[in-house]
């Protein structure tokens, strides 16, 4: 990482540790503006910077529509007319966005815009969203003031909702909905690395400070080897996410993003399950954060393509 990237990481980690005030997050830190082009009021950073922010958001288990808004903004083709209306508002944080990819819809042209019919489930952070980017399989359309109905989630730190489209107007924002999914994969992957890293950190802390049989838990080789395996899996996940974020503008992104999602969500799932085991009784309680990390890891694993689905996708895209 460059010194600038290190500084970004430190500052957002510091900020997230104090909460997730949307006004400060978008205004003072400008996190939603990060990867939006300068011509649309953004900073024109790369996906690598976005990944750093999302990883720290995952580590803090941030409850915020940051990921959804970021993916929505990145999915918009900045050269299309709608971009000029949407991106500045998304960059400024005045508009909260999300994407709807898990469902079906049909789009028919109507004048400058389109009319959409369909329904979607598992739309992330649906409740606060003012715009949702909807895929009909061939293109992406922005629907403002969408009919999103929140669903209560197992992961209390991130909401979902269903979206119903019935003769709903939408504006074309991209001809490449597959790229929107790749972006979502990369974003969830980066976040999952943060989830895994934080869970491993508090687990290690527990093992170093708690004793059993008169010695610190961290001295038991069976636990040490388990932690070593978790560290190795996390390091692999870091590498996959690093590669995917760096490949954002190359054709390899189409395999690198789902691959990173597969590897990083598996790592987070493995680490957070092991974390509860290694924490013992305390990890099973509501008051300890371990279960919240497990629930986020579980959600990130099952949403937007579970591991089997991702492996099938990879096999279809792989040069085998």
């Amino acid at each position: 990482m460059t010194p600038e990237q290190e500084a970004l990481r430190a500052s957002v980690a510091d900020f997230f540790s104090t909460g997730a005030d949307w006004g400060r997050l978008t205004g003072e830190l400008g996190l939603t503006a990060l990867a939006i082009g300068e011509e649309h009021g953004g900073f024109g950073a790369s996906l690598v910077e976005v990944g750093i922010v999302l990883e720290e958001a995952g580590a803090a288990l941030l409850s915020s529509p940051l990921l959804a808004t970021t993916v929505a903004a990145l999915a918009v083709d900045p050269s299309l007319p709608a971009a000029a209306d949407l991106l500045p508002a998304l960059a400024a944080g005045d508009l909260i966005g999300t994407v709807a990819l898990d469902g079906t819809c049909t789009a028919r042209p109507a004048g400058d815009a389109f009319v959409l019919d369909g329904s979607f489930a598992h739309v992330l952070d649906a409740a606060p969203a003012g715009v949702v980017m909807v895929s009909d399989g061939t293109a992406l359309f922005a629907v403002t003031d969408p009919d999103l109905r929140p669903q209560p989630t197992l992961d209390q730190t991130r909401g979902q909702g269903t979206l119903v489209l019935w003769q709903t107007p939408g504006r074309l924002v991209s001809h490449n909905p597959a790229h929107a999914q790749d972006l979502l994969h990369a974003a969830l992957a980066a976040e999952s690395v943060g989830v895994a890293r934080a869970a491993l950190r508090f687990t290690v802390e527990h093992l170093r400070t708690r004793s059993q049989f008169g010695v610190p838990l961290a001295t038991f080789q069976a636990l040490r080897h388990r932690v070593a395996d978790l560290h190795v899996q996390l390091e692999q996940a870091v590498s996959s996410v690093w590669f995917a974020l760096g490949a954002a503008s190359t054709p390899e992104f189409a395999t690198a993003a789902p691959l990173a999602k597969l590897i990083a969500t598996e790592a987070a799932y493995t680490v957070t399950r092991a974390s509860i085991q290694l924490l013992g009784g305390i990890g099973f309680t509501w008051e300890h954060d371990a279960h919240r990390y497990l629930k986020r890891a579980t959600a990130n694993r099952l949403l937007a393509g579970d591991p089997v689905t991702l492996r099938r996708l990879l096999l279809s895209r792989a040069d085998l």
Binding site: Q212, I276, L294, D306
Partner: protein
Amino acid sequence: MAPEISLRAPDIRAWLRDHLTGEFAPLVGTGGPGREHEHLDLRARWERVLGAAGWIGLGWPAPYGRGASIAEQVVFFEEYARAGGPGRLSHIGEYLLAPTLIEHGTDAQRRRFLPPIASASELWCQGYSEPGAGSDLAGVRTRATLDGDRWLVTGQKVWTSLAHVADWCFVLARTDPASTRKAGLSYLLVPMHQPGVTVRPIVQLTGTSEFNEVFFDGAVADADLVVGAPGDGWRIATSTLSYERGVATLGQQLGFARELAAVVAAARANGTFDDPVVADRIADAWAGLQGLRHHALRTLSATSPDPTGASVAKLLWAGWHQRLGELAMDVGGPLSTVLAEAPDDLTDSQRLFLFTRADTIYGGSDEIQRNIVADRVLGRVQR
């Protein structure tokens, strides 16, 4: 003594059909691990119906109980599970304390405690684990001192199932203040309904409570309520642990079978059953459950049981059950990440997934069980 009852399967089935009805009908399928919070009062009354009919203590040897054979007990457990009988509240007394008293107690203790266990008029809980010691039982720090004709108990226990409904608790406490580790512990019988005892439910990752913390702050137990000699508590406590295996396993497995059937039904309903990758995992789960059954049948019929058999069995079922919870979530797919619409509560799959995280921790964690097995296979090392 309870009335004579038939242990033939059809008669048990008929009895359950006749009694698990009316006011008790809501109990079908309730209670048990992960749902221990459900219908507590009604289940306590149900236990007394079971007790009055003579179903509690079936396997206790005469003259304390019926001395039913393992095969007969298996029949009862299987029928009970098939009928959807609710999770039992009296089992800690029936299966843990009672065998301990029969083996190590005094006549007076047996006369005092066995009948109310059999009638379910007194429920028990187990005071072993302590915060900070995890599965290291020899790290017990709860203290008891003999003050004239009574013990005064001070300390804290955790992972105490059903403490909030229990009338009594068997407590492992350090009675020799100069002792460390396994020496100087005693096995005390402590009444729960007294000022010196406070029960605080632990809210679990499921959002419900099943385990408790129990605080003893000068709690009182009569001087003769020590099982075995003072200082002999480690031996008595580990003998209690060895009773945990047994025929109850087969009833537990029928519960597992119901859970697996629900996963299969969900997979059929959402079409994932037709995905060979999912079907392979379902077949693996089915095979694993058959394996658990075969293992229980073999070990129950063994003439000279493996002393580490309880650890082997625990590792097998806990791991299987945990994987079933993971499979249930994967079968549900993205829908597993949202709660049941109304009430705003966990789905069965979510409850199974989350609650089975505890299976490999409580009652001796997987790590402790592996230590025990390794001590047997490779010889002991100092720990």
